[in-house]
Symmetry: C2
Subunit: 872 residues, 2 copies
């Protein structure tokens, strides 16, 4: 004989397949000796037989159910279907894996006209009994028989209107009694049946409804999508109802075993005396803090505390416990792992490790990389309700408050006066860079997640909302317009780069903190991890920050970013517009001195750690203003009677450099090969800096961008070697390597490795080319539609596309390592800071990931998680 019904006392948490998740956990609590309301579970096997054989099976099952229910009557001292103390039960589905589409809970099952009266007498509250009854009819009618909720709600609303009250709890017993009558008529009208007054019929229909819900369309789809076995089935839990409203020795509450906001080890929560859980929700009475319980019911408080402690020991994590006290007896209705703030997560993990409750790796598993990220950015105070005026793309996380400024120069001026400003532009260009530095936050109405504003902001760790297309920006009028509001220059605004919200006015922020506990945890992560975390950094400040965040090297120093500074930009432009080699060389000589200065600063900061310097990458026209902008300037200069020859020269150069698809154009090492004097300058600047730092432990690596042929790599390597030979022999020690950022480079990795001593995956460009997607164009255009339609699970610029880009990486990795077994291989695209992408890099066997300094802690945690198998 197969056993289809298990009393809670017969199960345990390792019987999930048979009892479902909920049933197994309730059983486990009983096993632990905790005061759980008695009940039993009908197994998943019963469900499967029912689905196969239909209703007839239930008859044979029913003997077991009756036996279980009789035991429940004995355990509770109540009777199912009659007074004086009627036994009411809740019926809940409980599959081995929780999933949507399954049947909702039915409470108060067992009520009919008779037992309602008995209940009223038992609890001494006629209104409560009527209310319980009408709720039961509504739940049963809707969940078991499919009577639309709206039909019940519209009757309820009508009764409220007739009574002239606003809330349900203001309805008196009489009104609720009439409501019950009307509910019963509605039930009959819709189902064509009388409402079953026999509790046994109620129970059987509820159990069958749970079984049937295993095959709802929604549940089936969910299982299909998530690859869950259809032959698992669901269990049904039948639990005795308990009441917290049976007098001063009853009550109800919720508590956490530790503070979920800050992690302090202290019981945290609230309770109400003589109340049902719903009373808290209805907001009639204000709950008391859990500490008060020690005064009101000292024994119960101690028991609850002991219970919370035992649950922590049992489940080895902070618990969120629902409890009810019925006539002086504590019942634990539910316990589950408590949700917590990122800050609390860190403190709890570190303290539990100290307490010996969990080991370091378990502690690591308690803090997700996403939580680490949240700790590193200002957030909008969760207690405030902001006035959202627009939504754009969450381009760079964190929140910032400041006065609206439209002009970069003005942003600098105001910032110098100590004002916090938010720079608001249709889009930004390298010309605006000083404004981006000066602002606390950035808002653009155009551009995607990887627009200039977004990329620079993430690099700077500044909040940015980009592509907020429903605002319009009137630069000349100095106005920011939404459909119905107008903001002027100087008005306060708040941008939330974590969510994309644009908010009117000043909003309180919670500030970031890197606590000692977080540092402890990140060190553990480093110990667990197989791959290192390096940072992308272009300045000595970046390097310093990267080191302070625990980066083990600079994986990408973008030399072009060094030219974006206000004082250097004009020199760079001189170089770009130069018409002869001599003219260009003159500008290059000036740039060389500047680059030496930068390199000296970075190399010194990174003493003892590797620094990968990438030579010039973007197309030269990126250093010139756009042509319409130049046209405008020429017109202005003309009408002011100024000399326009320089501007005209610049325009003519901009025109000759113009490209249809700049991403696929004259950039990267192609520049270095056609204009060897440019790369030559940069290589000399690196060697000059190295030569001037005899006391620094230098680990410099020179990286070539956009390489894809053996010819390019060999030629560039020769260039470096030939320049190195200009310096005293043996004085320079360096590596030469390449980005792998084109599909062809990945495929030809073996021959590139002949000349390249290291590879670094540039997954931004590799994604653009492998998928034929321009980051700048698609993010704000059709990507949303593609993600909505499920074509991409998420933008491949946020989480690495393993099937496409990932295979190219795997190919390159394998071929590169085979050709040069000791080759160092890392990644320096923006994916380097995304936890799932870090996990993929771990699985490939990369040496390191490199990301924005601000994401280093996130990546360190992700690397630890990946090594522990917590993300894949």
């Amino acid at each position: 004989m197969i056993k289809y019904v298990y009393d809670f006392s017969e199960g345990s948490s390792d019987m999930k397949a048979l009892l479902g998740g909920k049933g197994a956990n309730l059983a486990q609590m009983v096993k632990e000796g905790l005061a759980v309301p008695p009940g039993f579970t009908v197994t998943t096997e019963a469900c499967l037989r029912y689905l196969e054989e239909g209703r007839e099976f239930v008859q044979s099952l029913w003997i077991d159910v009756e036996t279980a229910l009789e035991r429940l009557e004995r355990q509770t001292g109540r009777t199912f279907g009659s007074g004086p103390e009627p036994l009411l039960v809740s019926v809940r589905s409980g599959a081995p894996i929780s999933m949507p589409g399954m049947m909702d809970t039915i409470l108060n099952l067992g009520l009919n006209d008779d037992t309602r009266s008995a209940l009223a007498e038992m609890v001494g509250d006629d209104r409560f009994a009527w209310d319980s009854y009408r709720r039961f009819i509504q739940m049963f009618g809707n969940v078991v028989k499919g009577v639309p909720s709206e039909r019940f709600e519209s009757i309820l609303e009508e009764v409220r209107r007739n009574k002239g009250v606003a809330f349900d709890h203001q309805l008196d017993a009489e009104a609720l009694a009439s409501l019950v009558k009307r509910y019963l008529s509605l039930y009959e009208e819709v189902t064509g049946e009388t409402f079953p007054s026999d509790p046994w019929i109620q129970l059987r229909e509820a159990v069958e409804a749970v079984f049937d819900s295993w095959n709802t369309a929604r549940a089936k789809t969910y299982r299909k999508i998530h690859g869950i076995d259809d032959s698992m089935g669901t269990a049904v839990n039948v639990v005795a109802m308990v009441y917290g409203n049976l007098g001063g020795d009853s009550g109800t509450g919720v508590c956490f075993s530790r503070n979920p906001a800050d992690g302090e080890k202290k019981l945290y929560g609230e309770f109400l005396v003589n109340a049902q859980g719903e009373d808290v929700v209805a907001g009639i009475r204000t709950p008391q803090p859990i500490g008060e319980l020690a005064k009101v019911m000292p024994d119960i408080f101690e028991e609850l505390k002991a219970t919370a402690d035992r649950l922590e020991v049992r489940f080895k994590d902070m618990q969120d416990v629902e409890f009810t006290v019925e006539r002086g007896k504590l019942y634990i209705l539910q316990t589950r792992t408590g949700k917590r703030s990122a800050e609390a997560a860190v403190r709890i993990a570190v303290e539990m490790e100290k307490e010996g409750l969990i080991d370091r790796n378990e502690a690591l598993g308690r803090i997700s990389p996403e939580q680490v990220e949240r700790l590193l950015h200002s957030q909008i105070d969760p207690n405030c309700v902001p006035e959202v005026i627009s939504r754009g793309l969450p381009a760079s996380p964190g929140a910032a408050v400041g006065r609206i400024v439209f002009d970069p120069d003005e942003a600098v001026a105001m910032a110098e006066k100590g004002e916090s400003v938010v720079l608001v532009r249709p889009e930004t260009t390298p010309d605006d860079i000083h404004g981006l530095y000066a602002a606390k936050g950035i808002l653009t109405s155009r551009g995607g997640m990887t627009s200039h504003a977004a990329v620079v902001a993430r690099g700077l760790g500044k909040p940015c909302v980009s592509g907020a297309e429903d605002i319009s920006i009137d630069l000349e009028g100095g106005r920011l317009l939404t459909e119905d509001r107008e903001f002027l220059k100087g008005d306060f605004i708040t941008v939330d780069g974590s969510t994309g919200r644009v908010i009117a006015g000043e909003v309180p922020l919670s500030l970031p903190s890197i606590s000692d506990e977080l540092n402890t945890v990140l060190d553990w992560a480093d110990e667990a991890a197989d791959l290192q975390v390096w940072a992308n950094g272009d300045t000595p400040e970046d390097a310093k920050r990267a080191r302070s965040f625990g980066a083990k090297g600079i994986g990408l120093c973008r030399t072009e970013h060094m030219f974006m500074a206000e004082d250097r930009f004009p020199v760079m432009q001189r170089m770009v517009v130069a018409e002869s080699l001599e003219e260009r060389q003159e500008a290059l000589d000036d740039l060389r001195a500047m680059q030496v200065e930068d390199f000296v600063g970075i190399f010194r900061e990174m003493d003892g750690l590797p620094v990968i310097v990438r030579l010039l990458d973007p197309p030269l026209h990126e250093f010139l203003p756009k042509i319409p902008e130049l046209d405008k300037r020429i017109l202005e200069a003309d009408s002011a009677g100024e000399d326009t020859s320089k501007l005209r020269k610049m325009k003519s150069r901009a025109e000759s450099l113009r490209e249809v698809n700049p991403m696929l154009g004259f950039r990267g090492c192609r520049l270095g090969i056609v204009y060897p004097e440019i790369y030559g300058m940069q290589i000399r600047a690196i060697f000059d800096a190295m030569s001037s730092l005899p006391d620094v432990d230098l680990k410099v690596e020179i990286m070539m961008p956009l390489v894809q042929t053996k010819g390019e790599m060999a030629l560039l390597r020769e260039m470096v070697e030939s320049i190195a030979s200009e310096y005293p022999q043996g004085s320079l020690s360096y590596l030469v390597g390449t980005m792998i950022e084109l599909p062809r480079a990945a495929l030809r990795a073996a021959e590139l490795a002949e000349d390249a001593e290291f590879f670094s995956f540039g997954t931004n460009d590799l994604t653009q080319t492998c998928l034929g997607l321009s980051r700048d164009d698609v993010e704000s255009k059709f990507m949303k539609e593609y993600v909505d339609k499920g074509i991409f699970p998420i933008s491949p610029f946020h989480v690495l596309d393993r099937d496409g880009v990932g295979e190219l990486m795997a190919i390159a990795f394998e071929r590169g390592r085979k050709a040069r077994p000791d080759i160092s291989i890392g990644i320096c695209g923006e994916h380097g800071g995304d936890p799932k992408s870090v996990a993929f890099c771990h699985s490939l066997g990369l040496n390191y990931v490199s990301c924005s300094p601000f994401r280093v802690p996130v990546a360190r945690m992700a690397a630890g998680w990946a090594a522990l198998g917590l993300i894949e």
Copy 2:
């Protein structure tokens, strides 16, 4: 004892490794009984031992050389080094494979003061003897001893100046005698040695010089590049000199066994009585046509004719023969396969096959795909010397003559009047399409090989020169300017799209012809080939032309090209700027009717053959004017007081559709997924057309562009199926497939093949993405530099990059076939018409290549060649 010296009578043409190519062929002719001047060959083995052991080896070798030379004396009845009839010889290098850098020929070896006098007496021409002597000194001095040619030339020039003559042949014996004296002094001055008067020393030094030339830097580099074995060595040929200037019974000439211009089977060439070969070059006397020889020396003519026939039989190809008649005896100095025009190649191959001289496959091997190409385009008459005013890119082959027109409308107007016009524009856009149709040829000053003008021109089979950057175009003034010339609207100009030349005025053209012979040969090619040749075609006219050129299907019908016609463009623009679905649907309904008409025409033309229709591919903004153009039009309309609202709407739409990298943007199936109504219209138009052609054998295939995920392909397939279900059941038979034009698509081919019934490689886009190269940008920018530096052997847009793009194709092919064994796989990029790329497609195992109709014959020949292993 190893035999180091072979008399010509001892060798044969299969001894190339030992005797070198030249020696083996001379020996073979002797074997055939042909009158070759006697001589012998020093073997490649001797060369190798010399290179190993040095000069000492030559001593042991010399006994054999002396023996051979004695035999030569006997054969010729002349004496080496003395009169009365001195034996002179030529010394030539002859490696098994011909290569540059090897030693040049030395003629007249054996001359010194004594033998010169004897020679003068023997031929009765003192001047001739002096001239032979001074030439010998010059050749020996330069070739063997490295005395710079310029030094000899400057003395010669001085003597000419002193004598007051312009040409060498005007110098008399006395002057030449003094020249010899000065040459001998120069030799002594530069080398520090007296000129060797002993013919044996002359011979030994010449032989050693040939051996040494095996290791010149140039020869070594050539061998390295071409993977030729260094241990092959070169042979040395020593041949008795014969003289065609010993009287009226002597002469010299060159003849072809068939006419190299038109292929007619008739001796063709010219000769001079009593002359040396050099006399022809010097231009003193005009040679006579070979037919005249029959009158002057009838026996010799017959012998020559018989010889030519025998050589053809022996070498199974048309021969180019050099001959000399010395005192009534014919000597064949050289025979080799004759160069011929493309037209002659076809006729000769077909006729030789008929004659049974060669089989069909051999005949095929005689006509290269490039020759087929030359036959299909007008060419500038090779006899004219055109005045080249600029050079651009050879964007679309063939030559065209016409009047300069700058405006597309005007081009149409003038063409309608019967004028030939060449459309001259800085660059072209879809707005100019009617002008491109009307013009005979196109010239642009900007844009690359794949600019709009170039692509359209190739599609139309019209000559085009693009990117002629040194001309400037003054559209308003109606002038085309070069550095020093000006051409006005209406002036004649000639463009040569095969070479990129721009030529002043009208130049005579030779017109293309597809002869019956060519058709015969192409049919043979089809029989030999493993893959079919289809054509890309967008109109019924294209389809007709494709079929007439032998295409076995339409591999790419670009539906967007259908909208480029003048009357349709505005409707397409209405669709693009539509602000609502309704507005868009209205325009789509109009477009649908037009597309149905096109499809009906194409399907009818291709009755019984497959037609692959590709749905809309380019980004929508390509159908709108550029923004500056719109600004200009708005300004004009404004000042004319016209309504600008439509233009403004267009501009706003153009702005919202603007993309940074349109190639990687919102195009291809991305459009069809976001705007399903657009693809829906196209699919319905296809099905409407099919439904209206009950009597046509339809083989329609619907192709989706830019697909790369299973989600896209599944969704698009569903879209087609759902629309098909609107038509009577069973009435439609079609295939659905996809382009493979993104690296990710290639990698994910297995899952795409689940929904795609065919693949077509779009190698243009696949090259752009795999290599990160924008066709539009790089062709005219750095590609030249890259090719010059050897980074790419040739632009990867002209010949498929096998190492990168090719590997992706191989991956996609293998995965696609594995997932769906009967999947049809072809290529429709521009590479489909390039012979080497066709060969690669053959090696992959593709079902077909599809190319421009005008390239179909070339591709057919290439497919035949590939199957025969003639190209790889």
